[in-house]
């Protein structure tokens, strides 16, 4: 690919420096599920408990509902959970070989994985600053191990750049750093930044740029043994009389800029994806299982809530035992904590203020999907040296995530072969969601083999998950905008007589477990204060 030489104007140059130095805001906007924000967790909730016997009814046995139940019961409240599904955990789940799930529309999702690989259809990685999640994992005994969020050996790929050949993340990153350092050094030498940088700082900056960008004595970014030690080698250093080492060749600036691969790197700058990240050993549902061990004796499964009625000093919840159309039953309590996703709740009959009704009706639910593929061998490790991490592409599959467990093992292994959410604003998630389970696998294979040609020879079976075909969430997460938050968020979270809502939709950390936990902890704290007021 030939490109015209790139001669940036001063304005372009400064814009580029801005990009390299501190475009956190932009990175965040461009990142899937990239909601940053330090968690407001302050440790175990300090509840006073009820003055006399008090009954709390919790709707939904996801992480928010189970955490609320666990803490309320410890504080002395009598607690019961009503859950629609025949399992606990809500969106926090894992599917493994042998699992079957009938999605909306009647298609059966089969998982026939033969090895011990699995798909986490929803949550799959935990930042360390999600301190509530980390603390509950510790307290409830959920072992975690590192989740490789950034692997410099994994790929960035664009169908129309570099003849469709994927590039290594580390190469793109180091080449951009080198080129930008070179340009910045050039401007400094030309005095173009004298207004912004003092003479003393200028010398320090030049010195630093030489090391940071691996520039040569002329401040140019070019092949050298030093660069080999940073960027890697075309012929790696060997032993004995093996061939002499040869440093790798950097890619020119213009083709890199034109390729769009640089932008693909920005996702890694999000605070939410700061390494190290972690995952529960054996699957994300280990967290759900740990909460379930604590509260399953007070969970009633297969109970579809249809109505929440409020009186002066209590609530009555109507539900169908056995799911839609089941036997109608009622439960009464002093307080109700409802964690049912708003997309479903808006379709139920809820006694609450008009303002809260409007808030419940205001929030659209984002789409998201995943496809997982099992292969006969770990060709990404064996052929390409990719041990864990994620490759990104501008093809509609968006990303391929390699397992952060089972390294080097023989036999089958599972990659998350396609994943996107509506956060990125791409149209692709809807298209994937329209497909039958078989079509999703076909599409993931047809697209993914452009990045990994081994797909054809090594594929065994696949499975998938489409969040808009899940009847108990009707989507992936509550897609707040700033305007919606201004208009409705506070009302949504306030206690309405005897009812309070919780769940990821009642948090500033949507689509993260931490948001569910913090919303639950805050809701029970306020209920407990109201109880003791």
């Amino acid at each position: 690919m030939t490109m015209p030489p790139f001669n940036p104007s001063r304005r372009q140059l400064l814009a580029m420096i801005g990009q390299v130095a501190g475009a956190a805001a932009m990175y965040q906007a461009m990142t899937s599920l990239g909601f940053a924000g330090e968690s407001g967790y302050t440790g175990e909730p300090d509840l006073q408990g009820p003055r006399e016997g008090r009954r709390v009814l919790i709707l939904g046995a996801g992480i928010a509902g189970m955490a609320a139940a666990y803490e309320m019961r410890r504080a002395g409240y009598e607690v019961k959970i009503l859950e629609y599904q025949d399992r606990q955990g809500g969106r926090c789940l894992t599917i493994r070989g042998g699992d079957r799930y009938t999605e909306m529309g009647g298609h059966e999702i089969a998982c026939d994985f033969e090895g011990d690989g699995y798909l986490n259809p929803g949550p799959w990685r935990l930042p360390v600053h999600h301190r509530a999640v980390m603390d509950y994992c510790r307290k409830l005994g959920v072992p975690i191990h590192p989740f490789i969020i950034k692997n410099n050996k994994a790929f960035l790929h664009s169908a129309n750049a570099f003849d469709g050949r994927p590039q290594r993340i580390g190469h793109v990153e180091k080449d951009m750093r080198g080129h930008v350092s070179e340009l910045l050094a050039k401007s400094l030498h030309q005095g173009a930044l004298d207004d912004a940088v003092s003479a003393e700082d200028r010398e320090k900056l030049l010195e630093g740029l030489r090391g940071w960008g691996v520039l040569d004595s002329d401040f140019s970014y070019s092949v050298s043994d030093d660069l080999g030690g940073v960027r890697g080698w075309d012929i790696r250093p060997g032993g004995g009389l093996m061939a002499d080492r040869k440093p790798s060749q950097p890619v020119d600036l213009s083709p890199l800029l034109q390729s769009g691969l640089w932008e693909q790197l920005f996702g890694f700058n999000s605070y939410s994806f700061e390494p190290p990240m972690f995952e529960p050993v054996g699957g994300m549902d280990r967290i759900a299982d740990a909460f379930a061990r604590e509260v399953s004796d007070i969970v009633q499964l297969n109970a579809r809530v249809t109505r929440i009625a409020q009186g002066e000093d209590g609530v009555t919840v109507t539900y169908e035992d056995g799911g839609r159309g089941g036997t109608v039953q009622e439960e009464s309590a002093d307080w109700c904590i409802c964690t049912i996703p708003l997309s479903v709740l808006v379709q139920l009959d809820v006694d609450c203020s008009d303002a809260m009704q409007k808030a419940i009706a205001a929030v659209p639910y984002a789409s998201a999907f995943k496809v997982a593929l099992e292969f006969r061998r770990r060709f990404w490790e064996q052929d390409e040296g990719i041990y864990g991490g994620i490759s990104y592409t501008d093809l509609p599959l968006v990303q391929i995530a390699y397992p952060s467990y089972g390294f080097l093992s023989d036999g089958p292994a599972v990659v998350q072969g396609a994943y996107d959410t509506a956060t990125g604003g791409r149209t692709f998630t809807y298209s994937w969601s329209t497909m039958t389970p078989q079509e999703r696998i076909d599409a993931a294979l047809a697209l993914g083999r452009r990045i990994h040609p081994q797909y054809d020879a090594e594929f065994m079976s696949g499975t998938s998950w489409v969040w808009h075909r899940v009847d108990w969430s009707l989507g992936c997460y509550g897609q707040w905008t700033e305007e919606l938050r201004d208009a409705h968020y506070k009302t949504l979270c306030e206690i309405d007589n005897r009812l309070v809502l919780a769940g990821e939709h009642c948090s500033h950390i949507p689509a993260w477990l931490e948001g569910s936990l913090l919303s639950a902890l805050d809701a029970i704290k306020r209920l407990d204060q109201r109880e003791n007021a």
């Binding site: 799911g323 093809l395 298209s431």
Partner: protein, 153 residues
Amino acid sequence: MTKRRILACIALTLMATGARTQEPPAPAEDTAAAQDTGTLLQRFSDDPDRFTQTDGEALYRTTCQACHMEDGRGDAGAGAHPPLADNPKVASKHFVAGVVMTGYHGMPRFGHQMSDDQVAEVTNYVRSSFGNDHSDPITPDEVADLRAPEDND
């Protein structure tokens, strides 16, 4: 290269792969399967930011079908994707086009990712399919009139 061409190339490569296997006697299904995959990939828009299908059915197949299903009958469990077939609300073209543009409760909006023509096309498709037989199509101009001012970007 535009996105459309990328996907077209992929489709062609797939078909070429199928064709190459024909040199030793051809398993006919391979070519058919490759063509099916090519058709399947057309369900993706050429532009990640906007839907690029132009006719009503193609737009339905890449958006609405996700939730309202192949046959327009939706489905219901804990919550429901309502049917667009046998639904009296579909009698109003303004209602359907409005829902498509601004969303409705949990349903996300599509107005910012579809042109007036596309909204009209998909609305008219829904109102004349799945047993619906409403003979008053909406025009792109009428869709434009329904748009919220901030939607006109």
